[in-house]
């Protein structure tokens, strides 16, 4: 099947404000192949794709389409060539029918009127050709996410696209929906459509791809042919052997079971099946790391424990007392929560440090008659600034203009002002510089020493190993692996999250 090259990107360089993101990257897709693109978060995958689709401009390098050099300066340019991108956030119009969505903006017409018969026929032809489980006249409102994604693919195909780019297409799909997508991908390959498949999920990549390009730190790490795609090798290449032998990638875990159980979760199950039968304990003074791929259900579990979203069934017990979680109750009981999306959920950008720190603590701020005591509020924020070295140390500074690290410290600071029993942090150092990362780790460690139970959700493997006393790995909504009192490496955690090793055989 390996025939001519359809897309080739040569010597691509790109940097953002002086920081190189891509360096001398070479990427080639052949006609009718499924070409996987892998790499850790921040390896440069999405930057490369954005350059190919004209969202970013490249600093250096050349792109060839069917052997001809081309300039791609906008998404329209790349559409004209015959590239279609299937976005993670779907761009279907729910109140319209399948056919209306497929031909949106290009409806066949009779005079001024849309020719629905012709449009439905044309859609049906495409559906038949590629065997999609869809009907042209169904209103998209009634369809599941998997089928909506197929509409996007169909839309690309209706424009005679020769190359489809799929970015984490199975991230929000159920097992059955993913199966359907894989079937379609194979059909497309038979029809000589090329596919760039970006995924964190190794098993999908093994199953589907003809070739695999791995990026690491913005450089080509390897291009593997089908028979060379071996799980252990891929993981090694992604992480990089050099890193794997360094201190940050291997650690002896020690957890202390003698301390009392602070949090116990029993059979927590989601309404929409994003996680099921989650049971675990966290001891006082313990930092529990929750690892796994993005979309494995980790964030959903901790949100349910804190009570932002309700679980369908299961129990949450804090120091043996059963809770009916809600944010208000959790705060009262001494549970702190640092959300994943810091800017939108963690703090109020337009308010000062003082107001942000006081936000969850108005029950303990002194009240003079009816008015909040400004001096007490200020004293609290000064304590927080002092305790964790928030910079700038001006309590009136708007949090929105601070650096990411200091913003996160403000978010943490408000919980430190309370009598905390359990702290849940979700991706605590995303987008934070190295120095501030270490400070945040030491805050977490200090809390643990004081007897607080801590749950850390993180996709950064190095971080997971660095802070955790014990590690649970989630995969597709289940806890699949526990690392306790053993030596653990990044590869072991990654493999467990990917469902390689013993879980690979497991039927989902």
């Amino acid at each position: 099947m390996a025939g001519n090259t359809i897309l080739e990107a040569e010597h691509i360089y790109k940097s953002f404000s002086g920081v190189p993101v891509l360096q001398d990257v070479h990427f080639e897709v052949k006609v009718g192949e499924v070409h996987a693109l892998m790499g850790e978060n921040g390896a440069g995958k999405s930057t490369l794709i954005k350059i190919v689709t004209g969202v970013y401009s490249k600093d250096e390098g050349q792109i060839y389409w069917e052997g001809r050099p081309v300039e791609i300066n906008s998404y329209q340019d790349c559409q004209k060539l015959g590239v279609a991108c299937i976005y993670q956030e779907l761009s279907v119009i729910p109140p319209l029918t399948v056919a209306q969505n497929v031909f949106l903006g290009r409806e066949p017409r009779n005079g001024p009127f849309i020719n629905y018969n012709k449009m439905n026929e044309m859609t049906q032809e495409l559906i038949d050709k590629y065997q999609f489980p869809l009907k042209p006249t169904t209103i998209v409102d009634n369809l599941g996410i998997g089928q909506r994604q197929l509409i996007e693919i169909l839309k690309g195909l209706s424009q005679n696209s020769k190359l489809l780019i799929m970015d984490e297409p199975t991230a929000s799909l159920s097992g059955k929906e993913a199966e359907m997508l894989f079937h379609i991908i194979r059909t497309l390959r038979e029809q000589s459509v090329s596919i760039i498949y970006i995924s964190h999920r190794l098993e999908e990549v093994y199953m589907l791809s003809d070739r695999l390009t791995i990026l690491r730190d913005g450089k080509n790490a390897a291009v593997l042919e089908k028979e060379e795609i071996i799980p252990a090798k891929v993981i090694e290449t992604m992480i990089g052997k050099v890193v794997d032998e360094s201190a940050g990638s291997r650690k002896m875990l020690h957890s202390d079971d003698s301390k009392p159980v602070r949090l116990e979760v029993k059979n927590l199950t989601d309404k929409t099946d994003r996680y099921r039968n989650i049971s675990f304990q966290v001891h006082s003074g313990e930092i529990l790391g929750l690892g796994g791929l993005i979309g494995a259900g980790r964030t959903e579990v901790v949100r349910a424990i804190y009570g932002v979203d309700k679980a369908a069934s299961g129990e949450v017990l804090l120091s043996g007392k059963k809770l009916n979680p809600s944010p208000k109750l959790s705060i009262k009981e001494g549970i702190g929560f640092v959300p994943e999306d810091r800017r939108n959920q963690g703090f109020i950008p337009l308010l000062s440090t003082t107001k942000n720190v006081a936000l969850t603590n108005y029950d303990i701020v002194k009240i003079n008659g009816v008015a909040i005591s400004d001096s007490d509020e200020l004293a609290m924020s000064k304590r927080a600034i002092e305790a964790i070295d928030i910079r700038p140390s001006d309590p009136d500074k708007q949090v929105g203009v601070m650096s990411g690290g200091n913003q996160q410290k403000v978010v943490l600071g408000k919980w430190l002002m309370r009598n905390l029993k359990l702290l849940i942090v979700d991706e605590p150092t995303a987008g934070i510089d190295v120095g501030a990362k270490d400070e945040i780790y030491s805050i977490l460690e200090r809390l643990a020493n004081e007897g607080v139970a801590v749950i850390v959700v993180t996709s950064d493997l190095q971080e997971l190993l660095r802070v955790s006393h014990r590690i649970l790995v989630m995969r597709k909504g289940n806890i699949v692996k526990e690392f306790k009192n053993v030596e653990v490496t990044q590869s072991m955690v990654l493999a467990a999250g990917q469902g390689v090793t013993e879980n690979q055989q497991e039927e989902n």
């Binding site: 998404y75 329209q76 761009s91 279907v92 119009i93 729910p94 109140p95 319209l96 209306q100 949106l104 903006g105 290009r106 409806e107 017409r109 001024p112 009127f113 849309i114 629905y116 209103i139 409102d141 009634n142 369809l143 599941g144 996410i145 998997g146 799909l173 159920s174 097992g175 059955k176 929906e177 993913a178 309404k271 929409t272 099946d273 994003r274």
Partner: protein
């Protein structure tokens, strides 16, 4: 199980609401001559519903794009007053007067559209401002007597008198309304422009990616609203045979209310013109019935308000339910 789409579900609900209301008033206010349920009174209801429905066509287009226009009432007064000036100070024929009225409406719509879609002023604030401007302009050009006091301008062109009436009980305004609804529905369902309106309202980013000119789509929707307001103004002044500065004071609200009751969600992407007709009929029935029951007419406004809130709550909960269903369905397929 076959799942009704939100559109079909809402149509069913608004039809049932209208039917229940008609039955309720027939039972409470009786049938036969002089009562609620008789031919003459029902035609009156339709006549009362006509102008909100005509303006509702434009407003529905806007709401589908997730837009809104709060200036329709003031615009109506301004159009009426422009025509009154032409009547008072020129000898131009009736048709030219109406033409100028229509052009005024289109121009006001264009202004709204540019402010909102080109200058990116939020719809609510932009049209709130033009609501104030149009009303003030009406006062500025109002015709005054020698003492400078605004007088109600009588307009009794013979053609105008004719337009305010109809063929027997079939008022021309009802015919115009039917024409508006039919053409509006065809535009929505059978032209590219209609599809574009839904796309712009339901997923603006996707509309842009599909090459739809969002600003143009929105400006045209404002101009269609301006046109429908102008037609509403022509029929209103024809019925009153005069133009006053107070015309249209309820018409900021009633077309939006009709569209919302008829199934257009303010979040955009849903609703259609037939729904708005049902909504307008519902509101007119409510007014008429309350009058026939000799209740304090203020009650109708309270009931209207409550119904609108109920309908909006329904739309919001139904939408979240549908989204959850889609996710659950996907998850269930995964477990089979």
């Amino acid at each position: 199980m076959k799942q009704l789409s939100q559109t079909a579900m809402r149509r069913l609900i608004s039809v049932i609401m209208l039917a229940v209301l008609v039955c309720l008033f027939t039972i409470l206010a009786g049938y036969g001559q002089g009562k609620f349920f008789n031919f003459a009174n029902l035609i009156e209801v339709v006549r009362d519903a006509s102008i909100p429905a005509i303006i509702g066509v434009g407003v529905t287009f806007l709401i589908i794009t997730s837009g809104i226009d709060l200036s329709t009432g003031s615009m109506m007064a301004l159009v009426g007053m422009v025509m009154a000036n032409i009547y008072e100070y020129t000898l131009w024929p009736f048709k030219v007067m109406v033409l100028f009225g229509i052009l005024t409406g289109l121009f006001c719509g264009l202004i709204n559209g540019i402010i909102v879609a080109k200058l990116n002023v939020p719809e609510f604030i932009g049209t709130l401002a033009t609501m104030s401007i149009f009303r003030a302009m009406t006062y500025v050009i109002a015709i005054r007597n020698v003492n400078g006091v605004i007088k109600s301008q009588a307009m009794n062109h013979s053609e105008y008198v004719w337009l305010g009436a109809g063929v027997g009980k079939f008022y021309y305004v009802i015919m115009a309304m039917i024409l508006f609804i039919v053409i509006g529905q065809i535009l929505l369902r059978y032209t590219r422009y209609g599809t574009n309106l839904y796309s712009v309202g339901a997923n603006r980013k996707a509309a842009v990616l599909s090459g739809i000119n969002v600003a143009k789509t929105r400006i045209i929707a404002y101009m269609i609203t301006g046109f429908s307001v102008a037609v509403g103004a022509v029929f209103t002044t024809a019925r009153l045979q005069s133009a006053t500065t107070a015309i249209g004071t309820d018409f900021e609200f009633s077309p939006i209310a009709a569209a919302v009751v008829g199934g257009a969600a303010l979040s955009g992407g849903s609703g259609d013109v037939i729904g708005t007709l049902i909504g307008a009929l519902f509101m007119a029935t409510l007014e008429n019935g309350v009058r026939k029951l000799d209740m304090n007419t203020s009650f109708q406004y309270i009931i209207k308000g409550i119904i609108i809130i109920a309908v909006v709550i329904f739309d919001a909960t139904y939408k979240t339910r549908m989204e959850r269903k889609a996710r659950e369905q996907g998850a269930k397929e995964g477990l089979e």
